[in-house]
């Protein structure tokens, strides 16, 4: 109902506008073309000036209204550098923005048609043109300089001793893997992937180093102040590990692993306090179009202290043991009935296929 109401209003608006537009065309003809033109010109000249003034006020107002909702404290060292670069760029471009917009609308207003005005025949001026080639070039070189300095730092090698975590995207969730005590990720091959057999990454269980790997689909745990290197992959289509609080981002490409490293600076708990938001979590947003569930492809990161991390790690069970419960020393003690043994056998057979 209200839809039709709205459409009716639009139609009415159209009709009224059209009538006014027709009428003013006739009035214009009656008044004489010249007078009509001069009047329109004055009105539009004034409006351009008004647009400049209210536009700049609007920019200021928009900034005041929204600044609390963007860019909380950057939660990684790289993020702080990126924010610094951002502020430098905002300052430089902001100055250019204000000056050029003012010149544009002010000139338009000031030099609007006057019958008596003589235009200044000014077709070129090499010196002026040289200035506005060289000055932007210098300003841009400065920005490039800063930018590349940070960029090479951010994309350089991760420090030794960084925590290594593997993250794999699939439609529409994230899978995390830790290398376990041996600090080596077990081999995997995509043709071994099988959701039915609980091998979402296609890990080769024959590889010894895979047997202590920890696979988890709930959350990625990271340690405060400890650099972390993510090894990023995808199972099906391109995804992207987007970490807006850390200001980091990297595509997850099937067939071509990528990496990224950073150092978290605040635990999740600290961020809850700093942002005054008890619901705060570090979210991983998928930032590359990956299908119909793209907008809901969320991952979680918990940043904790080293002690909390150690506690959490101690509670994790290698995936291998979950897939082959009979290999689990904790289970071996218990009496295994014939039935479970048989079940395990079938599982094993399936896995070795």
């Amino acid at each position: 109902m209200s839809t039709f109401f709205l459409i009716a209003i639009f139609l009415l608006g159209f009709l009224v506008t059209f009538q006014i537009a027709k009428a003013s065309e006739y009035v214009g003809i009656l008044k004489g073309e010249k007078k009509n033109f001069e009047q329109n010109n004055r009105i539009n000249g004034f409006l351009l000036l008004a647009f400049l003034v209210f536009g700049l006020l609007g920019v200021y107002w928009c900034n005041e209204a929204l600044k609390g909702r963007i860019l909380g404290e950057a939660a990684s060292e790289h993020g702080q550098n990126i924010d610094r670069m951002l502020y430098i760029t905002i300052a430089v471009t902001g100055v250019v923005f204000v000056i050029t917009q003012i010149l544009l609308f002010w000139f338009a207003f000031k030099y609007q048609y006057k019958e008596t005005r003589k235009v200044y025949f000014f077709s070129h001026d090499n010196k002026l043109e040289l200035i506005w080639t060289v000055v932007p070039a210098i300003a841009l070189s400065v920005l490039v300089g800063f930018g590349l300095y940070y960029w090479l730092g951010i994309t350089g090698d991760a420090p030794k001793g960084a925590l290594e975590v593997e993250i794999t995207g699939k439609q529409f969730a994230w899978i995390y893997r830790y290398p376990g005590d041996d600090k080596i990720f077990g081999k995997k091959y995509y043709k071994n992937i099988s959701d039915a057999e609980d091998n979402s990454l296609g890990i080769l269980w024959d590889d010894k180093s895979s047997q202590d790997d920890i696979v988890n689909e709930q959350a990625m745990y990271l340690v405060k102040n400890r650099p972390v290197k993510l090894i990023i992959g995808a199972r099906d289509v391109i995804h992207d590990v987007g970490l807006s609080h850390f200001r980091m981002k990297m595509d997850a490409v099937p067939g071509t692993p990528t990496t990224m490293w950073f150092t978290p600076l605040y635990t999740t708990k600290e961020m809850k306090k700093m942002t005054n938001n008890p619901d705060f979590v570090y979210e991983i947003s998928c930032d590359q179009m990956c299908g119909k569930g793209h907008f809901s492809m969320k991952g979680l990161i918990e940043v904790v202290t080293q002690e909390e991390y150690d506690l959490w790690m101690a509670r994790q069970k290698p995936k291998y043991l979950a897939v082959f419960p009979d290999k689990d020393p904790a289970n071996a003690k218990k009496d295994s009935t014939v039935a479970t043994a048989a079940a395990v056998d079938t599982l094993k057979m399936a896995a070795s296929k």
């Binding site: 537009a21 065309e25 003809i29 329109n40 010109n41 647009f51 536009g55 963007i70 860019l71 993020g79 990126i82 760029t89 430089v92 471009t93 923005f97 917009q101 544009l104 000139f107 338009a108 030099y111 609007q112 048609y113 025949f121 070129h124 001026d125 080639t133 932007p136 841009l140 490039v144 930018g147 960029w151 090479l152 994309t155 699939k170 439609q171 995509y190 043709k191 992937i193 959701d195 099906d236 289509v237 391109i238 987007g242 609080h245 200001r247 980091m248 981002k249 595509d251 490409v253 067939g255 071509t256 938001n277 979590v281 998928c286 930032d287 179009m289 299908g291 793209h294 907008f295 809901s296």
Partner: protein
């Protein structure tokens, strides 16, 4: 200039070109001109231009309507609109837009506006209309190819439209259609038949654009009238020339990328595919060794030049219109050409700035940072030259002039955010967020639309012999300018917060749900702005038939050649001889004279410029 030698040839070519040279133009139309040959399979560049324009307008309405639909979803993610179910059936079950359909809408919106409206609708219209008229030619080098160019575009349109009606829906992987998503029907409904139709349509489109482009280039190089050296052609022509060069050199690369994608889809090849397991079929695919990133290189090798293909014609028309309405020469004509040239060259060398976080080698990334930010230099030159053109002019705010001023304002705003994105350090955070959406809509989408509108308002009298209604035009301008800023300015802030693009609902995200009210505001403004575009469309069609008649052949007191033709020029443009040109097109306000048409010989006492 050494051009004089070259110029002899085209003059001859024109003679052989038509019997139009003799006699008066009007009496010649009757030679076997039927409705079909005049309005449908026309070979008159002016008619073909109108065909492109009107097809473009229809596409713009469709593409705009798509955006209204998905803005409804973004503004009101938790409401349902029963009317949508009535109209769209299963795509809006229960009055809520379904995810597959949302992504199909976004994809079609992007494809249609980038390619069908702002490439075909813009270049197709103004290159066809203005090149022969402004360089003094009777028609294009090959009117037949020109006609084919339109009809290939038409075929592309039909295929694209039909993809909207297939069972599994149209393509839905974004206008960039990255594989593997776009390669695998098992990964998305839209990657089934819809994607094939999308690829076929785009292939037809590439053919259309190549036929057109080659024609524009050869016409500009070979068919200029006597005296029209390359340093005397209006900047519109220079811009259209570089646009055509960009298209001719980059569209084939896109086509090759699409063909490889078709092979991967149906031929079992592995150009883009490797290591893929599809959950929908619980199967690992046999493909190994391909690179998904290869497609992105091929796509953006066109994709970046494409944004300039869209922008340059607007820049050219704005330069021309600004000079005419400031009653003052364009400032730095040679610098304007030089910067167009620089932009054209650099446009081929920056494509990987769309791929900074795709796993690109960081060193390669830094090279692309340097080249990308270099592009800002010629852009800056253009802005300052436009500003200086206004300075000490005597400005008439015709609707075309207002849209030109709006264009410069938008180009500044959007160009400056390019400096953020071109800096790879910042792009890590801003890539694929609403900041990018804001950037390219302002600098490419809205700005080029402003160029298009400026062109239509300025040359409508030449096209149809009537004026558009001024009141509606002013309303159109002001609502569009204010609306565009209200829609896209706040999106920068959303992007700074990391809010990802191509999300249909943010309410489940702790990090991004703070913008619910802002999204609603943006949606409301976009609906209003869309309605005002319909007002323009109405004005356009109404004025074709009922607009105020043009009574003088040169209504804007302009120097260029198109205004030396009759008010309603026939096929062949000039009833008699093609006029000879004696000067550049920007002698406004020279030696105390309002304007001096290009056809006027240089006087003995005249000062040089």
């Amino acid at each position: 200039m050494s051009n004089e030698a070259i110029l002899q040839k085209p003059a001859d070519a024109v003679v052989t070109h038509g019997d139009h040279r003799e006699g008066n133009g009007h009496s010649e139309h009757h030679h076997k001109e039927t409705f079909i040959s005049k309005y449908v399979f026309s070979m008159d560049h002016k008619m073909i231009a109108k065909q492109f324009l009107i097809t473009g307008i229809i596409w713009a309405i469709i593409g705009g309507l798509f955006s209204v639909l998905f803005r409804l979803q973004l503004g009101y993610p938790n409401d349902s609109f029963p009317i949508l179910e009535t109209l769209l059936g299963k795509w809006a079950k229960g009055g809520k837009i379904q995810p597959e359909f949302y992504y199909a809408l976004v994809t079609m919106h992007g494809t249609v506006l980038v390619f069908f409206v702002l490439t075909a609708g813009l270049s197709g219209t103004f290159a066809n209309f203005l090149i022969p008229l402004q360089i003094g030619a009777r028609d294009m080098a090959s009117p037949f190819m020109n006609m084919l160019s339109y009809w290939f575009f038409w075929a592309a349109s039909v295929v694209m439209i039909s993809s909207l009606f297939v069972e599994t829906g149209p393509a839905s992987g974004g206008w960039t259609s990255y594989p593997p998503l776009s390669a695998l029907g098992g990964a998305s409904e839209g990657s089934k038949t819809g994607m094939d139709l999308w690829l076929i349509s785009m292939a037809l489109f590439v053919v259309s654009s190549l036929l057109g482009g080659l024609n524009y280039i050869s016409t500009i190089l070979n068919m200029r009238t006597k005296g029209m050296s390359m340093t005397r052609v209006p900047l519109t022509i220079w811009a259209l020339f570089f646009t055509a060069v960009l298209g001719v050199l980059s569209f084939p690369v896109l086509l090759s990328g699409f063909i490889l994608l078709l092979f991967d889809r149906h031929g079992g090849t592995s150009f883009y595919l490797s290591d893929i397991y599809l959950a929908s079929t619980q199967q690992a695919l046999p493909n190994e060794g391909g690179s998904a990133i290869l497609y992105q290189h091929l796509f953006w090798f066109l994709g970046h030049p494409e944004v300039y293909i869209i922008l340059l014609p607007a820049m050219g028309m704005v330069s021309e219109i600004m000079s005419v309405n400031s009653r003052k020469p364009i400032f730095g004509y040679m610098a304007m050409i030089g910067s167009l040239f620089a932009i054209t060259i650099l446009a081929f060398l920056v494509w990987a700035h769309h791929m900074f976080v795709s796993g690109l080698n960081p060193f390669l990334g830094s090279v692309f940072v340097l080249l990308t930010l270099l592009i800002a230099v010629p852009s800056a030159i253009k802005v300052f030259n436009w500003l200086t053109t206004l300075w000490r002019g005597n400005i008439r705010f015709t609707p075309a002039m207002l849209f030109s001023i709006g264009f410069v304002s938008l180009f500044i705003s959007g160009g400056l955010t390019g400096i953020f994105l071109g800096n790879s350090t910042l792009d890590i955070h801003l890539h694929d967020t609403y900041f990018v959406v804001a950037h390219f809509h302002i600098v490419m989408g809205v700005a080029s639309f402003f160029g298009l509108f400026a062109g239509v308002y300025h040359w409508f009298p030449k096209m149809y012999g009537r004026y558009l209604n001024n009141t509606m035009a002013y309303l159109h301008f002001w609502v569009t300018l204010i609306g565009a800023y209200l829609i896209f300015w706040p999106m920068h802030y959303e992007g700074l917060a990391g809010m990802p693009r191509r999300y249909m609902d943010f309410s489940q995200w702790v990090s991004f749900n703070q913008f619910g009210d802002l999204n609603r505001f943006i949606s409301i403004v976009s609906i209003i702005v869309f309605a005002v575009q319909l007002l323009f469309v109405f004005n356009f069609f109404y004025s074709i038939f009922k607009g105020r008649r043009v009574t003088t052949s040169n209504p804007w007191d302009s120097n260029t050649l198109e205004w030396t033709t009759p008010i309603r020029p026939g096929h062949g443009n000039w009833p008699g001889e093609i006029p000879e040109v004696h000067r550049w097109p920007y002698d406004y306000g020279k030696d105390g004279r309002e304007f001096i048409p290009q056809t006027e010989p240089v006087g003995a006492q005249e000062t040089a410029h």
